[in-house]
């Protein structure tokens, strides 16, 4: 990327960041939402796990609290949701402004979401303290520290997987007048097949089988599993490999959908 291009994208990022810092209430609310909706699950699983003698399928209280705390971290920092914004811009015709500009729309959306995530991360920091206390109180995750390089890599690879799936969902608005149904299916599927309600070992095997054929498991569950439990090296490498395959496949799919969608796109009065 040339110096001029880099300056261009840096300006986009900076302007969006400044805008989100100015109106930070929006980011603060979504940060709280991601904390609250998973807030009850650790407590329910504590009760169930204690009733079963302290462990179910390798999951004990310590692993469960780490799982859900880092799910909150993942939701607030890594997992991007450009689908609603994209769908709105395509539906309203505001998308025309981006088509005629000399920058990549998807990269613009990615920078937009990254800037937003940065503001959400800043809002999340005060809540990190009690969450770290909770992890230490329940036994911590010191056993998985040797896996740290893999955890970081898996988390970094999770970002483009989830972003590309969400962007593809946003692009369905090229064909659907209202993509709300598609987005609802996406949100429900990512929650269920991403392991947001429970680790897959605690769910019926059929769900794990279906989830293995979808990208959500490798965008959400896989990094969380690495951070919650000791995982054999072969499984870690296999998971990272599958993440790379999904990134490549989703990149190709999003490019195809983008080209086809652009041919269909029309906006009145813009």
């Amino acid at each position: 990327m040339t110096d001029r291009n880099m300056r261009k994208y840096w300006t986009i990022f900076r302007v969006v960041l400044e805008n989100n810092l100015m109106y930070r209430g929006h980011a603060f609310v979504w940060m709280l939402f991601d904390l609250l909706w998973i807030g009850v699950f650790p407590f329910i699983w504590f009760f169930i796990i204690n009733a079963q003698g302290g462990e179910i399928q390798g999951w004990n209280n310590s692993a469960i609290i780490v799982y859900y705390v880092f799910m909150a971290v993942l939701s607030n920092i890594v997992l991007m949701h450009p689908e609603a914004h994209m769908a709105y811009e395509i539906y309203e015709g505001k998308f025309s402004n981006y088509v005629i500009k000399p920058h990549s729309y998807l990269l613009y959306v990615f920078l937009h979401e990254s800037a937003y995530k940065m503001v959400r991360f800043l809002a999340f920091i005060p809540f990190a303290v009690p969450l770290i206390w909770a992890i230490q109180h329940f036994g911590g995750s010191g056993a998985v520290l040797p896996q740290l390089p893999f955890i970081i890599l898996a988390t970094l690879l999770a970002m483009p997987i989830f972003f590309l799936v969400a962007a593809i969902i946003g692009m369905t608005c090229f064909w659907l007048e209202d993509s709300y149904a598609a987005r609802t299916i996406f949100w429900a599927s990512s929650g269920l097949f991403g392991g947001q309600y429970a680790p897959f070992e605690l769910m019926p095997p059929i769900l794990n089988t279906v989830a293995s054929a979808l990208p959500f498991k490798y965008a959400i569950y896989f990094p969380l599993r690495l951070i919650s439990q000791q995982v054999p090296r072969a499984e870690m490498l296999r998971g990272l490999g599958i993440q790379l395959v999904w990134i490549a496949a989703l990149f190709v799919l999003s490019s195809i959908i983008w080209k086809k969608g652009l041919k269909r796109y029309s906006a009145v009065g813009r």
Binding site: Y23, G25, H26, V29, W30, L32, F33, D34, L35, L36, W37, G39, V40, F43, I44, F46, F47, I48, A51, Q52, I56, E177, D178, Y180, A181, T184, I185, A188, G191, L192, Y197, A198, L202, M203, P204
Partner: protein, 261 residues
């Protein structure tokens, strides 16, 4: 009062006509409600594949709680949700002026502006779910169901309305928080599980400050036989208090409001 009833009839009729005209949105909304209900039901099945009860709530009891939660969510979505949700946007765009200058109580007008008839079918599904939960779990006495349940479900609905309205009235004070409904949903999502899992202190908070117990748990307790007389009185007091708080905060916010138009 009769005047407000006539206005309400007109608004209901307009909403019905809009739902008939935009049938696509009707079916999408219906699909949305049914999909999430099915998902949450599946989550309960996952919990109970490992245990017989959670803090004294059996699977049947929890299904009743989910049904009540969904019933109140659908009632809220079908009545005041769409109208009240617009408050932050109305304030930010300056269109609140058009509401405030009308010769009708603006708080009523905002809440009654848009009804969603797409929520009627999910309501039937909720009642079916509650019936199923009662059939496989415990069921309260006839007196608790006939006397206690109507009181606590109305108190629950009014508390839902109050909490939702209170949060959205913050739109007068903070700009660009048109997603404040997400904060309500985050809090609301906790209410479909038994709050006893949090322990005594959080339970106390959920009876008062963030009245999730009043909103969702007490109506479910009335049906499954856990409700006490003290909890009925608590429900009445909390719902009355929150209604009063909502009204006062809204009026105070309007007095301090200066248009951006």
């Amino acid at each position: 009062m009769r005047r407000y009833f006539r206005i309400l009839k007109v608004l209901v009729r307009v909403s019905f006509i809009r739902d008939i005209v935009f049938r696509g949105a009707f079916y999408i909304d219906l699909f949305h409600a049914v999909l999430w209900l099915g998902l949450f039901f599946l989550v309960i099945e996952v919990f109970f594949s490992h245990t017989e009860s959670i803090v004294g709530w059996t699977k049947g009891n929890l299904i009743v709680l989910l049904g009540i939660w969904s019933l109140l969510d659908d009632l809220a979505s079908g009545t005041f949700w769409e109208g009240v949700k617009r408050i932050p946007t109305l304030v930010a765009d300056g269109n609140m002026d058009f509401i405030l200058t009308r010769p009708v109580d603006s708080q009523f007008l905002i809440a009654a502006e848009r009804f969603r008839f797409s929520r009627v079918i999910p309501l039937i599904a909720d009642i079916a779910l509650i019936s199923y939960g009662l059939s496989i779990g415990s069921i309260g006495s006839l007196w608790t169901i006939l006397l206690g349940f109507p009181i606590v479900i109305i108190a629950g609905y009014l508390t839902v309305l109050s909490v939702f309205y209170l949060l959205h009235t913050l739109g007068f004070w903070f700009l660009r928080i048109d997603n404040i409904w997400a904060l309500y949903e985050g809090i609301e999502n906790i209410g479909k599980y038994p709050l006893d899992v949090f322990g005594r202190h959080i339970k106390l908070v959920s009876l008062t400050v963030v009245p999730l117990t009043v909103m969702f748990t007490l109506p479910a307790e009335a049906l499954v036989g856990f409700l006490s007389g003290a909890e009925v009185i608590n429900a009445l007091l909390v719902s009355a208090l929150f209604l009063w708080l909502t009204r006062k905060f809204y009026q105070y916010s309007v007095r301090r409001y200066s248009s951006v138009a």
